[in-house]
Amino acid sequence: MNPEADRRMTEDFLRPLLHTTWKFYVAVAFFGSIVLAGFATWGYQIYTGIGIAGINSPVFWGFYLVNFVFWIGISHAGTLISAILRLVNATWRRPITRCAEAITAFALMIGAMFPLIHLGRVWLFYWLLPYPSQRGLWPNFRSPLVWDFFAITTYLLSSLLFLLLPMIPDFALVRDKTTGIRSRIYGLLSFGWRGTPKHWHRLESGMHIMAIVILPIAVSVHTVVSFDFSMAVVPMWHSTIFGPYFVTGAIFSGIAALIIAMALLRRLLHLEYYLRPIHFQNMGKLLVTMSLLWGYFVFNERLTVWYGNESHETGVFWATQAGDYAPFFWTMVIVNFVVPIVLVGIRRFRTITGTVIASCGVVVGMWLERFLIIIPSLSYKQLSYMWGSYAPTWAELTIMAATFAGIALLFLLFSKFVPIISIWELKVGDQPKIETDQPLADAEAEGELA
């Protein structure tokens, strides 16, 4: 490999770790304070009661659960995508895997907090866990919430492992490029990596095993999340389509989140050179594919309910198609289906900016999808006398804002301490020849994708 390119790559990717500007502190303070507000709200909720949220009878689950499903969905960005791409040996994946895996870990951490936030008596959350107690009391293994616990913990642990494994050589690189305490810390994190062929071999096979293992875990986790709904005899929840529908939606929103993250990193960390139009193009293709698949599921779900015209379900169905919730539904269809297909699917319109816009739409649309799954069904259950409605309160909005600020904060800190692009993977891959004299800004100027 071109030593000049090697040097420059190392420099580019270690720059954020070694140099910190005031902007970084401002950003941390900004996002940090929103996160703190979220925690304060949660504390207040624990103190006064979950009544400060907008949930009510009959809509017992609200924004907290919407955000739970949403963030668990976003978490499919990573592991799944990078695992698939690794397994099919798609070389263009190399600059985006780390980012994808980090999204997974962070989104999961955030998502997994919501089942706790929404508990009426969170101080007793450990009753959800199987632990040996004097009375021999175990959680109810028939409850999907307990399945959730297992699925999410497994997924969180494995995706952390999947994130950490390929970081080892990069930590070793940082260790070698720095001195003092920093070098010692990265030294610890690199687990004595020496880059011997044996080390490389072990890393590769470890990654390969993880990539295989993580696929069924990722699929199962959102299937299990969908079971929270489909196991209950609630109109339009009780559906066999929910497993694959949720997994598809999860991957869909994950890809969109990843595209947004890539675009932000590219702009903020000046990585235009490494995150190239080809990456956006390929990710865009995946996005459109998932959009079509998602649209197919929605069509299936809606058509069967409409055609079946089952009396318990018509209340929910019409509320979402033409009633109170229709504006959300049709917005969702537009941003999840129409916009991606136009902006990304049609070659003439396909630009980085367009892809990012479509991705933003998809993130919003997938959030709406979770909302539309949870709220209308609970608002329009079987007995119409008990029909109701729901509006979030400041508490739910604050905590929701805190989760978005939280993921930004985590990313900010992550990119400060970890090379956001897997340096070694990029180096071993065949990168385009480095034109050292090409100004970096040019990559941006390319604008339209090939």
Partner: protein, 743 residues
Amino acid sequence: MDRRQFVKVSAASGAAATLAGCGSPENQLIRFIPEEQFTPGIAIHKPGVCTLCSAGCGMQVRVMDGDVEVVKDGQLGVMQKPLAKKLEGNSEHPVNKGKLCVRGQAAIQVTYHPDRITRPLKRAGERGSGQFTPVSWEEALAELVAQLDGLAGAGSQGALRFLTRPLTGQRSVLVGEFLSRFGAPAATTFEFFGEQVLRRANEASFGFSQLPTFDLARSSYVIGFGADFLGTWNSPVAQNVAYGEMRRGRPGVRAKFVQVEPRMSQTGANADEWVPASMGTEGVLALGIAHVIMRSGSRQPGDAGRAGALIAGWSEGLADYAPEEVERITGVDAARIERLAREFAEYGPSVALIGGAPLAQTNGLFHALAVNALNALIGSIGAPGGVFFTPRPDGFVSGAQGASIKDVASGILDGRAPAEVLLINDTNPVFGAPPAWRVAEALSAIPYIASFGQFIDETSNLADLILPDHSLLESWVDAAPESGSMMSVASLAPPVMRPLHQTRAMPDVLLTVGRSLGQPLEPALPGSYEEMLRAAFEALREPDGSSVSWTTAQRQGGWWSEMPAASPSPSVLDEGPRAFEEAAFDGDPRQYPFHFLPFASQAFLDGSLAHLPWLQELPDVMSSAMWSSWVEINPGTASGLGVVQGDLVELTSDHGTVRVPVFVSPAIAPNVIAMPVGQGHETFTRYASGRGANPISILAPTEEPTTGALAWAATRVRVAKVEGDGGLILYGGALREHPEHSR
């Protein structure tokens, strides 16, 4: 494999692997308290008497020991006391047969209400400012005695007024005796939903100035004219018990029930056929039915006797009430009238009931007389499944009738009959009388007002002295229900629990005052109310002439016995035969296009129960509204006005304006706007103050001319949408038709 088995299998396969050997967790769950260790509290049951309405139901009070915070010698401590825990119906009682209505059950909250007046109060600020300072009972009684001595000294005993809710039993006797011995005019009774018109009609038709008792359990065909007999009217618990039997108590017989009313009440919701006749024409419909029956020849005009003779044209078979003519007046199809009449005559025992809004018209007495005549024609008077007049126990009803509150108020205001001292017992005319009667103004002009109120309401707020009464669970209570049972009844209950606060029972306060006057009352009143009750019960005689055991009466909650029917009073009234006259409504129909129909609230009755949180949070069974006021409007009318559910509207009559949220209901005539009475209190505890609006505040002071009773359903209003939050709180979501297929 059903769901339970499936989950069991999956739980088994999933969990067994992880938890081999830890058994079935569910069965190790220690639920509640293991049965052997559950020690239920020890409850005793004591009789009680419900005093919330005039039905006089017998209660069975569940009493258990509990810790009460008490202050003794300035020190806060905890004492164990027997406490009433739950009010249930006395299953022996002939009126309510073990049941209590929704209001009666909530009566326990009167006793434990956080805003009860706990000790005597003396006015501190301006009248009506709501500022009072606590005083001792000695001080309070001395002050009242001084006021009465002042009247006696000046020889103006006639300037004492006693204002009370309608009383029965020994309380009515005591108040009557106290006043007459003191030399004051008889007590003025006030309640918004008074029954003077019906009593008057019954006296004219049948010789009983009394509310009727219906033997619904044995009726096979029932037509109700506006009477909310399953909700709030007459003796609702007795009528509900009988209704259940009427529907399903007899193998092979299920009565038909037809309800005539322009706005569907809770009662009307149960009807097999609901007939929204025009307001103020109900009697015409009754006579239309009578006409068809007489024309068919199955009954003769003479069958109706005295009751028929009060209707013009009766003996000629009511030629003026041919179905087509009745259709023109009432809006009910002529064919339907023919059919109803045929069914009514054929499927007996039949009975007709009238109550509520039809009587609260300028022509209310006519409607009552018409329905009475119909009952008499069909032969339902005193017959199984028909109408009865309960013989009343001797010595339990005070005959004295005082002036009406309207006359008292106008007498004060125009100086004809000034009042110096006013005593108020458990009635709230400032809230419940139409503004044109100027009750508040008149009361303010009385130099001295003492109230026995348990709560500060709009009326007791004007008092100079408050001598808080015990609650119904803390005092000796009795009642002599005028209807509800075919037996003669005098309900009785000793105090169920010791008083929570420093209150005293009104009758005992009166007796004390009577003794303490400078010129004690002559002849002396009994030493205590308990003594008085005992004497009254011991004076009762069974049909065989034997006397009544005082201890038995205390234990079983009163005395009741099958007494021979009382004999009707002779026809002393100078009622000539009456013909239908159109009801006169207050307000020009062009300016005020809608009839305004106030109705008794299922929860609060006339508003006297709006302070009880259980009742505030009770979803009204028709609208499902809680904690709020509403007006019911037909969907067509609502769309004409451009309003939807929950919108705020302004109702304007010639006498005032209220703002209320809209409840759109398909079960109301398009030209009628209905609103429950009960909310809209200015001052009435933390739960009712400032909540909703009071329909009485826009009522015209229209009267039924013969009795002078308020014609509370004779006002017209206009409706306009206004900006603002209606504040309508509904429990039910979509109140549409059963979405799941009702069978």
